[in-house]
């Protein structure tokens, strides 16, 4: 009778040990699935660093009768539309652009990107309401904007220019704004 009670006690202890061991094993396996493994941690860290690192872009601006290029950096943005807007803001903020006909007299009002890859660049005149420039200066100013967008963002396929939110015939009396613009690399100084 005593030996059978002893056997029952041993069996209970064994059952308890097996159950707790299984529980511990389950807990260990579960926690090992959610805990970051070193490689994943590295990837997330790299992404974070990349988000914080400025994006290098190429600005196109009128210079000595042609378009010149200059590298600059802009803060990374969550989407291409915001990045493109930041790129043009960097162009308008450039000190050399501030001296150039047309670009010195206009400001960026807004930029929209539609699903077909058309960037709508909405411009507004600055303090001087009438923009005066030759046809060549007007052409260089427009393609400074167009090339800056199309050379830096492959999602942008073409550009349309608006004035104060509406379609306009020209910026300074010569270049047709009723069309879409593709990049013109023949205007860039080699």
């Amino acid at each position: 009778m005593q030996s059978s009670r002893l056997l029952f006690g041993v069996a209970v202890i064994i059952a308890v040990l097996v159950a707790s061991g299984g529980g511990l094993l389950w807990l260990w396996m579960g926690s090992s699935n959610t805990a970051p493994i070193p490689a994943e941690q590295d990837r997330q860290l790299a992404q974070q660093l990349l988000r914080d690192e400025p994006l290098s872009i190429t600005l196109y601006y009128p210079h000595e009768g042609m378009l010149a290029t200059e590298s600059t950096v802009v803060k990374r943005q969550p989407d291409t539309q915001s990045l493109a807007r930041a790129a043009l803001e960097a162009l308008f903020a450039d000190q050399r652009v501030a001296l150039e006909p047309v670009l010195r007299d206009i400001r960026l009002r807004e930029l929209y990107l539609d699903g077909s890859g058309t960037a709508y660049v909405d411009l507004t005149p600055g303090a001087r309401k009438d923009v005066r420039a030759s046809a060549w200066e007007e052409q260089l100013a427009i393609y400074a904007l167009v090339n800056t967008l199309l050379q830096n963002f492959e999602e942008i396929k073409q550009v349309r220019l608006l004035l104060d939110g509406t379609e306009a015939q020209t910026l300074a009396g010569h270049i047709d704004l009723s069309r879409t613009f593709a990049k013109r690399m023949d205007l860039v100084k080699q």
Partner: protein, 339 residues
């Protein structure tokens, strides 16, 4: 009150209106405009034929378009229109009704309207009054070749301003000098789009050239510096011409040809790409003085509607103007002789 209301209602009620259109109002899908030598045309493309009301104000300074019965729905933004007779379009509400208002200049003449089908559209022509700014040239005699010279800018639009002068004046002086030389040849008839300091829209300049039956069109501009450039139209990426269904019969029996032609407005230059290239090359070589000189391609708002070989020239303000005039005359004469 001067009004076209009664006439319009009568006219529109006599139209073969689509079944169910009455009471459904007027839906405008698109609005176009074109400025011709003698009138400005507004075209309202509508979803389905329906009666409309067109009223001219007492002082003649505005016209309103609205639906005769039912709502007026505009599915497109109104274009910016501003020329010598139309000062602008606006959508507004008058006495609870939505209308499109057309603001007119004091020189605006008679307002005519008619309706065309295929697609359905309301066409409003506003005549340029007696003080029309664009000279309508007399048709040339059979043996004369018409050359149109277009001095850039004018009126409030001065163009570039530099110590050498104002672009609008320099361009006019140069155009007059070129005309004086060319007119020595009795086979050439030279027409200027403006002969004094006056404002013209780009469409009015192109329309004057087309009305004159020009063989070639030269728009004259100036820029700072000594360099001269010759521009031709950049036709790359131009949209395909809009196709128009055959017209089976207009509502009021008007000829639709002119309106169909208007649909192609702004695409005329495409038919002259080769000639414009030849003219541009000839003038560039004469102006620059190098056989390798080539014209520059640019998407120019003016040239696209010119129905002739067409270029725009920018001469440097520091350039000797007599020499520039002589070079342009030589280039034009050579082009006329060889083409």
């Amino acid at each position: 009150m001067r009004t076209l209301f009664a006439l319009m209602v009568l006219c529109s009620l006599s139209l073969p209106v689509n079944a169910g259109a009455v009471g459904n109002g007027l839906t405008v899908n698109s609005v176009r405009h074109a400025s011709y030598a003698t009138f400005t045309r507004l075209v309202f493309e509508i979803e389905a034929a329906a009666p409309y009301v067109l009223i001219r104000s007492t002082d003649g300074r505005s016209v309103t378009l609205s639906s005769y019965d039912g709502p007026f729905l505009l599915k497109t933004p109104l274009p910016m229109v501003r020329d010598s007779v139309v000062l602008g379009l606006e959508l507004r509400v008058e006495a609870g009704r939505t209308v499109v208002g057309v603001r007119l200049d004091g020189t605006a003449g008679a307002v005519k309207d008619f309706v065309l089908r295929g697609p359905d559209r309301i066409v409003i022509d506003i005549a340029k009054g007696a003080a029309a700014p664009v000279p309508v040239p007399a048709l040339p005699t059979k043996k004369q070749t018409v050359i149109v010279l277009d001095p850039g800018h004018g009126g409030k639009d001065t163009g570039s301003v530099a110590s050498q002068g104002v672009e609008k004046t320099l361009a006019l002086d140069l155009a007059l000098a070129i005309r004086n030389s060319l007119q020595k040849d009795p086979h050439l008839k030279v027409v200027l789009t403006r002969e004094k300091d006056q404002a013209l829209t780009l469409d009015e300049r192109a329309a004057a050239s087309n009305a004159a039956g020009a063989l070639l069109f030269v728009s004259i501009h100036s820029s700072t510096g000594t360099g001269s450039r010759v521009f031709i139209q950049d036709l790359l990426d131009e949209p395909e011409p809009q196709t128009v269904r055959p017209v089976s019969g207009d509502f009021l029996g008007y000829e639709a040809g002119s309106e169909q032609k208007e649909l192609l407005w702004g695409r005329q230059q495409a038919a002259h790409a080769r000639e414009s290239g030849v003219l541009g090359r000839e003038l560039a070589r004469q102006l620059v003085g190098q056989d390798s000189a080539e014209p520059v391609q640019a998407p120019l708002a003016l040239l696209k509607a010119v129905d002739a070989a067409a270029v725009m020239i920018e001469t440097g303000m520091d350039t000797d103007r007599a020499q520039a005039a002589a070079a342009i005359v030589k280039g034009i004469e050579r082009y006329v002789r060889e083409n």
